[in-house]
Symmetry: C2
Subunit: 325 residues, 2 copies
DNA sequence: GCCAACCATAAGCGATGCTTAGGGATACCC
DNA sequence: GGGTATCCCTAAGCATCGCTTATGGTTGGC
């Protein structure tokens, strides 16, 4: 079995015509070259070099081997370059899976950031809600999954993230969304969930709906859900049209033009933790690692933006709370 | 720097999907595979594998490396096969250089022998007289040189074979060639060189001519050389036509139809040693080594043939000695 | 809930491959 | 023609590498 090291030495000897020159070329001593060549000739089973008076010539077998070595070493170099490009973020691919409100807010920011810093990387995105998207991650169909969990809700066992790398990005809150002419719309104080007990509800994605029911039942009532859709603009439109009220993640509202509705802080706050998930091995893949960092940064920026908006709304309180933002 | 060993392991892991299976495949233990992969990932600078629940998956970098590995390992295998073919005499080339009487007698026999035993080998032949042919050998323009030396003559220093592998093939003798009607033609006893002192001489190749002059001068006369050619049929023709006499190597007569001349043994015998020369390194090249063996065998066969002919001539003595053979 | 398969890690050990040191041959130069 | 520089080989010492065995932890399957 020839080894690449042997071929490098042989090629260098063939090029320079002497062991000493090859040794200088390769950055080692001349006996090292001599030994390597002896080993190589032994492996080949035939001499490869003819020690001429002043120069080193190749035998037929030597020429054949050099001919092959050229291609082999070129392939090796190409491989090294491609791997180095991936390791050095000049290439590489990250496949994201995200739930809708994440892919509308955090992902674009992070992707733009990533593309600016590492233009060679390729990013793809599929939308998938948490249980499914985590399956995809485990099945190798994506590299990073954006997911969320409600901190007050015990995670179901079959959905454990214990074996995953969990990178918190953002702590999201639920907010109430009511028609602009709703009695609660003008109030400065946060709303309690119980105040919506008698309303008609418009619910979001299945997971959120499940959580919502849980929260309401803890507050002592069962919400009357007349309409459910994971299409948040539709939810907002329905609320604006007076069909009902909704309690939505703040992040989900971020990319929706909230016209004709009032957004209310909830008391007590119900928090949703938005995280990026990946497999432990993938966490060390440079492009994945960098993408996680970009997502974390996007999460911070998003949190700051939301915080500022909330602060501005609080300062301007007395009017319509955070309406029409 | 990736090594072929690494790539073999990676490919095996990729194919089998587990370290244990790869270890069985490669004939080593599982920790060996584990360590190799760790080293390879360290060299790559990025993970190559994702340890899935039950199967081993490749990362993007891993897939890229396997893609390259396929070509690289194929190239290595091809190289090994080609070298093995040369080492195993299923391929290979031998370039011969020979003086004319050698290339007309020993070489055809040896080449036929070689081709029969190792049909894959390629043999080429160029004609060249000793000083020049040895230069060719040293310059790498041929692999084996057939040459000869007169054992009674000190070899000139600049033509030393001390650094070469010298393989004796045959001990050739000089014989006298006289017209069939020459006074010496019918005699059973060997001729002495001095008996030709007053003759006109027809000489062979320059080297032989030089030697001939030396031999004659030791015998106390200077031969009157009227004609010199390295074309032995021409020499024989001239002798037959009565232009003069010649003293030629027996081997040179072997391929010449000696019509109209008588061939006389010489007393004392003057011997020419026919040898095959090669460079020490080339002597270990299988095809060269085998060709030397074939040449040696051809030399033996030739010696036997000559011996038998001489014996037959001796038994039939009293008539025309060895005429018209 | 135990068992089997798989992978990681650690320790021991032999092989490999490098280095330095020294010797012989050869071409070049004064 | 002798000195010198270059080149290669060999030997010995030594560090590293890579394999093995032994062992532990984890994960599916029965």
């Amino acid at each position: 079995m020839f080894e690449a090291r042997h071929l490098r030495v042989l090629r260098s000897v063939a090029r320079t015509g002497s062991f000493s020159a090859a040794a200088r070329d390769l950055g080692c001593t001349q006996p090292a070259v001599s030994q390597q060549m002896k080993a190589l000739e032994s492996a080949a089973g035939t001499p490869l070099l003819v020690r001429g008076a002043r120069e080193m010539r190749l035998t037929e077998a030597g020429e054949a081997l050099v001919r092959h070595a050229t291609g082999i070493l070129a392939g090796l170099t190409a491989a090294e370059e491609e791997i180095a490009a991936i390791a050095g973020l000049r290439a590489g691919r990250v496949r994201l899976a995200s739930f809708p409100s994440g892919s509308a807010t955090l992902v674009p920011d992070a992707v733009a950031d990533m593309r600016e810093r590492h233009p060679g990387t390729k990013i793809s995105l599929v939308e998938a809600e948490p249980p499914r998207s985590v399956e995809m991650l485990r099945a190798g169909d994506c590299d990073i999954t954006l997911a969320f969990r409600y901190v007050d809700l015990p995670t179901p066992a079959e959905e454990s993230w214990a074996d995953l790398v969990v990178r918190p990005l953002l702590t999201d809150r639920l907010v109430g969304v009511v028609p602009q002419n709703h009695p609660l719309a003008g109030r400065a104080d946060p709303a309690r969930i119980g105040e919506f007990a008698e309303e008609q509800w418009i619910a979001g994605c299945p997971r959120c709906r499940g959580h919502l029911v849980e929260v309401c039942e803890r507050a002592g009532f069962t919400p009357r859900i007349d309409f459910a859709t994971d299409d948040y603009p539709a939810v907002v439109g329905l609320v604006a049209a007076g069909v009902g009220v909704a309690v939505l993640p703040e992040l989900a509202l971020e990319s929706v033009r909230a016209k004709g509705v009032a957004v209310l802080e909830m008391q007590p706050a119900v928090e949703r933790e938005v995280v990026a998930l990946t497999l432990p091995d993938l966490a060390h893949v440079p492009a994945v690692d960098m993408m996680l960092a970009r997502l974390a940064r996007a999460g911070l920026r998003q949190a700051r933006r939301t915080g500022l908006a909330r602060q501005a709304a609080a300062e301007g309180a007395g009017g319509v709370a955070a309406a029409g933002r």
